[in-house]
Symmetry: C2
Subunit: 192 residues, 2 copies
Amino acid sequence: MSNGKRQAMSAANWIRAGYDAFHDGGVDAIAVERVAKRLSATKGSFYWHFKDRESLVRAVLELWRAETEEIIDQLAAITEPRERLLRLFELVTSQIPTDRSEIDLLARGDQPAVAAVLEDVSRRRITFMSAAFREAGLRPVDADDAAVQAYALWIGLLQLQVNLPGTVPAGKDRDRFLRSTRELLGQLIPAP
Amino acid sequence: MSNGKRQAMSAANWIRAGYDAFHDGGVDAIAVERVAKRLSATKGSFYWHFKDRESLVRAVLELWRAETEEIIDQLAAITEPRERLLRLFELVTSQIPTDRSEIDLLARGDQPAVAAVLEDVSRRRITFMSAAFREAGLRPVDADDAAVQAYALWIGLLQLQVNLPGTVPAGKDRDRFLRSTRELLGQLIPAP
DNA sequence: ACCTGAACACCGTTCAAGT
DNA sequence: ACCTGAACACCGTTCAAGT
C-alpha cells in the first residue's frame, strides 16, 4: 500500500494533464503527443505508464463519471417521486444553455473508450428516471418508455444547443422555452 | 458550356468516390489518401481538382442535402396541417430504428464543412414544422418552441439508437414505444 | 492542363538503447 | 524501473518537376 514516490505520481500526472486537455479541447485533445508536450515528456515515457492512448482516455473519463454520480445522489434524496422528476427536469433544462462536454462525448461515442463510460452513465440516468416514473404510478414498460423519451429530449436539446446555435431560444425567450419544455416532460408523469 | 471531357469528369470522379466512402465509413472516411487509393490516383492529383479536403466533404454532402429535400417536398403536399405533422412524426419515428448517417453528421458537426450543410437542413426541417404548427393554430413563438422540441426528441432518439443500443426498444416492444412517442409528439399539436 | 513524387508537419505505436 | 530517440505507418498539404 505504501509507495515509492516517483512511479505512482507519474501515471497520475499523465491523467491529470489529460483531464485538463479534455476540458480545453474535448476528447480529441487527449492526444499522446500533445499531452507529452504539455508535460515536457516524451511519447516513449507515456508508453511506459500506459498500454495505449485508449487507456488514458478511459482513465480521464473515469473522473468525469464520478462527477455525474454526485448529481444523481443529490436527487435520490427527494422521496416524493413526482417532485424528484420535476426537480430533475428543472435541473437538466437549466443546464441546456451551457453544457458542451456532454455533447463532445456523444460525438466521440464511436471510440470504445468513450462508448464504455457513456453507456454506463446513460443507463444509470435512464434507470434512475424509470424507477421514479414507476414509483409515480406507471407500469414498468411505460416507465421505461417515458425515461427513454425524457432522456432523448434532453440530449437532443443539448445537441441542438451546440450544433445549431440559435434554434434553442436564448435571452428573453429562454424562460418561456424552458418552461414549455418542462411542461412537455411533465406530460410523461401520471396524475397523482 | 460544352466541355473537354477529361477535366469535368475527373472532379466528378473524386466526388463520387467520396460519396461511396461516406456511405461506407462516415465523414471520416472522406479522407484524401484513402479516396486516392480507391481511385488508384495520387494525392497530388486530388489537389489539382480541389483546394483541400474540406471542399470534397462539402461537395459530397451536397448530394446528401438533395436527398433530404425530397422528403420535405412529399410532405408539403398534405394540405391539412395536423395530418401533415402526424404523417411526419410517423415517418421519422419509423426511421429511428435504422438511420446512422444522420448521427454521424451530428457527431462531426465541429467540422465547418459538415456544420454548414447540417445547419441548413436542420433549419429547413424546423421551419417546416413550425409553419405546420402555426397553421394548426399555435401562436408563432409557441409554434417555434414546439418545432424545436419535436426535432430535439427526434434526433435525441436517433442518438440513443446509435450510441446506446438497447435503450430504444426493438422487436416486439418497438411498436408500443413508437406509438407512445408519437403520442408525446402529438401533445404538441393543439386540439382542432 | 493534369499528374507524379517527394517533402513536411502532425498523429499513434514500437523498441533498442541508455540511466 | 523509467525514459530517450529514432523508426514506422498513417493523415493533410505543398510544390518542383515532369508529360
